[in-house]
């Protein structure tokens, strides 16, 4: 009996709380539509958005970032899980803007009920997508000018990097490794387009179509394709480097191994679509230039 009344009391309290929250939020909502207030308590559940927020000067408005947001170092990293997000845990930071990279777990719906504004910025598939998301973050956080300046700077740097690439009669080929079981990405992906900007041809494109944009290559195909450049984006997850790559069966005689063209990427930079894509492209372009034109 006692147990039941206690539960009943708790339910009643909850009901009151929800009503109060709903009442408060409906009033703030009318404000929001009139002229969007500048958010002061941003929670970023997207490592890419975290990088962008700090790059456009909105860092001081960010109160919490998810457990994968490891850049910049001064971002307020928390134990919030980006993969298993909990609306309740996010709401605990009393955010006035939540940025998500996807909404597979229906967190947006839950946060909507709490009247917390949510911005979903899914993985960019093109550079223009990435620019659009940066500008969008700028508008939402009151840093419109900084955001468009950042985009302009990125565009300028990328144009500069890809301007004087060496002319080759046959384009160089590359393999971009996502993990040591030969998962890779085709040219249709965001990162694939960066390589294309550097004038490289993807050996995995033959595997596209049925196998999707992130196929698992067969080892013998890779050995036969014998790419000029190998980019390892599994240096963190799987501790791969030029030595472990060369030690795999049949890989020792690959062109890229023999000519030291196995390039180590940062897994994180290579999987995000924020301001640091310029650094990634620079690494790719430098590697490309290091291959002599024959």
């Amino acid at each position: 009996m006692e147990h039941r009344t206690r539960v009943g009391r708790a339910l009643a309290a909850l009901l009151v709380a929800v009503t109060v929250v709903a009442a408060c939020s409906s009033s703030s909502k009318t404000n929001a539509t009139a002229s969007a207030p500048i958010p002061k308590r941003i929670v970023s559940m997207s490592p890419t958005a975290t990088e962008t927020l700090f790059a456009i000067g909105a860092g001081s408005q960010v109160v919490a970032v998810d457990d994968q947001s490891d850049f910049p170092a001064n971002a307020p990293k928390t134990s919030l899980s980006a993969y298993e997000p909990s609306a309740e845990a996010i709401a605990g930071y009393k955010p006035d803007l939540v940025v998500l990279a996807d909404d597979t777990k229906n967190v947006k719906e839950a946060l909507d009920k709490l009247s917390v504004p949510v911005l979903v910025q899914p993985a960019a598939t093109t550079l223009d997508d990435a620019y659009r998301e940066i500008n969008e973050l700028g508008v939402k956080t009151g840093h419109t000018n900084e955001a468009s300046a950042l985009v302009g700077q990125m565009q300028q740097q990328i144009a500069g990097l890809t301007k004087d690439l060496p002319k080759r009669s046959t384009p160089l080929t590359y393999y971009h490794e996502l993990d040591n079981t030969l998962y890779t990405s085709t040219s249709h992906t965001f990162i694939g387009q960066l390589y294309a900007l550097a004038g490289l041809t993807n050996v995995a494109d033959a595997a596209g179509g049925g196998a999707g944009d992130y196929p698992q290559l067969s080892a013998e195909y890779l050995v036969q394709a014998n790419p000029d450049l190998v980019f390892l984006a599994d240096t963190k997850c799987c501790q791969q480097d030029a030595t472990t790559f060369a030690a795999r069966p049949g890989f020792a005689d690959l062109k890229a191994v023999k000519q030291n063209h196995v390039i180590l990427l940062d897994d994180d930079i290579a999987s995000r679509w924020g301001p640091r894509v310029v650094d990634l492209l620079r690494q790719i372009v430098d590697a490309t230039k290091s291959v002599p034109v024959t």
Binding site: Q68, Y83, E84, L178, D179, N180, T181, L182, Y183, A204, A206, A207, G210, A211, P215, Q216, L217, S218, A219, E220, Y221, L222, V223, Q224, A225, N226, K236, C237, C238, Q239, R248, P249, G250, A252, D253, L254
Partner: protein, 353 residues
């Protein structure tokens, strides 16, 4: 001892068919055919005569890259497929015999869940530097054996005579529990989820001869013990009391078979991940085609299991070439419908166990 047993009581026991030379020849031919197909066919599209010349040690026109494809990628993979497939099928056939349960597979007592947990923990923990490829098989092996051991202890600790049913139930409980832990650890560390996932779907790929050498000693021990028990399993199929009257220590024999089959399964899982259905469909196919006596089922499961997995791997490598399909998908995709057919036809044939 069992030779006379099965001989004199051959009619009472499962019809003790003799293993005919004809079927051994067919089995060996299947292994050779699958092996050769696996060597000459692949995404790289090498010329068959040149591959054969290279393998025979003759001068071939293959360049260094292509020789590496044949000798360092295809050959160890084909051998590994034969070993893993044979071991899983033989272990499955033995499990089905010892538990008198047609649905028993080598993972029945939790070997897969234990191995899965071991590998997940290693992959997740290795984020700080350990070398996953060498440690993961060991972790899988230890995890699989620990799970089976736990299931055995729980299943037999109830006092009195341990029934195979309580052992199976203990296995189900252990497997569910370990799978829950594995899923939890995996969800907590989603940055490594692709690695865990790709292991769970099974693969016979990149580690070269290393995996073959790792599996070989266990495979040989498992094969020897299980094949030596093929007649005992026929007697056990009738019942423990009958076995005892015939002078067989049913409990001990059953334990030996379970341990040997689990050892082989653990070693196979350690190098190849979880490959579903091989341990079920191959033994059942042999039963349908040739006969139900373990004297027939065990050796032929070994041969056809190896051939089957080798061919499944060939499909995994070539169907969406140059991308790979996880081999567990191939075996289950072809295995599940096939299994339904087996069930339908075996019902028609009045299979009881």
């Amino acid at each position: 001892m069992s030779t006379t047993v099965a001989g004199t009581d051959g009619e009472v026991v499962v019809r003790a068919e003799k293993l005919r030379v004809r079927w051994i020849v067919v089995g060996v031919a299947a292994v050779l055919a699958a092996g050769v197909a696996g060597l000459v066919i692949g995404p790289a599209g090498l010329s068959t005569p040149q591959v054969v010349r290279d393998l025979l040690g003759l001068h071939s026109s293959l360049d260094a890259q292509q020789v590496a494809i044949v000798e360092q990628l295809r050959l160890p993979r084909v051998v590994l497929g034969l070993l893993v497939g044979g071991t899983l099928s033989l272990s499955g056939a033995s499990y089905q015999g010892v538990f008198r349960n047609p649905l028993a597979d080598p993972y029945l007592l939790g070997a897969a869940a234990g191995a899965g947990l071991g590998v997940t923990v290693v992959i997740v923990g290795a984020a700080d530097g350990a070398s996953t490829p060498t440690v993961a098989p060991i972790a899988a092996f230890v995890g699989a054996l620990a799970a089976v051991g736990l299931a055995y202890v729980l299943g037999t600790s109830g006092g009195g005579r341990a029934s195979t049913a309580s052992l199976i139930l203990a296995g189900v409980a252990v497997a569910s529990f370990l799978t829950a832990v594995q899923t939890y650890v995996q969800q907590r560390n989603q940055d490594t989820i692709r690695q865990v996932y790709s292991w769970i779907l099974g693969r016979l790929s990149t580690a070269g001869w290393h995996d073959v050498l790792l599996l070989l000693p266990y495979a040989v021990v498992t094969w020897t013990i299980l094949l030596a028990h093929r007649r005992v399993l026929d007697v056990l199929a009738v019942g423990d009391d009958e076995a005892t009257t015939l002078g067989i220590n049913a409990r001990r024999s059953r334990l030996i078979v379970i341990v040997a089959a689990s050892l082989g399964t653990a070693a196979a899982v350690a190098v190849s991940g979880l490959i579903a259905f091989v341990g079920i469909i191959v033994p059942h196919t042999v039963r349908l085609l040739v006969g139900r006596s373990h004297r027939v089922v065990l050796p032929l499961s070994l041969l056809f299991g190896g051939a089957f997995l080798c061919l499944a791997d060939l499909l995994a490598r070539t169907l969406s070439s140059p991308a790979e399909i996880p081999i567990g998908v191939i075996t289950a995709f072809f295995g599940a419908p096939f299994f339904v057919l087996v069930l339908r036809s075996s019902r028609r044939m009045g299979m009881t166990t």
